[in-house]
Amino acid sequence: MNTRRNIGALAIFAMLLCSGMTCRQLDPAGVYQGDSALYESELAINTSYDIVHTFVDWELKNRAALAKYPEIGKSAIRLRRDYKGWHESAIALHDVYEANKTDENRTKLMNAVGLLRKALEEATKHMTQAAQPST
């Protein structure tokens, strides 16, 4: 069934991002010039925003139906409160690293990316949970 297949794809994608398995080599001729930290951070910022935005919108539109999953409501509230700050912090640290590529700045950027990946993982987990045929 396409529904399960697509949700499964979403879950696999989240797992790949969260596990760092997306680290294919960059063609150095590309805009990142081989800098995987920049690429990974931008990919994580893009993808986590899309998924978290989808999650909070989905939770809002289906709050009544999701009442039987109180953990989903709590997670949506937490992400509404915290995600914007994580997103903005990741962009700021991305810019700092891009301007000054030290190990310290890279570590700070990767820590911020880790938060985005956790948010992505959480949102994906809840959407896949609700798509399961039985609970």
Partner: protein, 68 residues
């Protein structure tokens, strides 16, 4: 569950959008300049226009389970 299926449309649309990315991530080989440019373009548009203003981002006033 049946009541929730229609509600998953947004998630499914996103999953369909992400499927090519999943396939790209799974297959071996280098990330091409074109793929890199797509990520950069999306990032640039997001940093200029990421919206956190809609009703979907509003914390319900009677929010249960206040953060600890």
């Amino acid at each position: 569950m049946l009541a929730l299926l229609p509600a998953l449309n947004a998630a499914l649309a996103l999953a369909e959008e992400l499927m090519p990315i999943v396939q790209q991530q799974i297959k071996a080989g280098m990330i091409s300049p074109e793929e890199q440019q797509k990520v950069r373009d999306k990032f640039n548009s997001l940093r200029q226009a990421a919206a956190f203003e809609g009703p979907e981002w509003e914390v319900p006033p009677e929010a249960p389970g206040s953060p600890s």
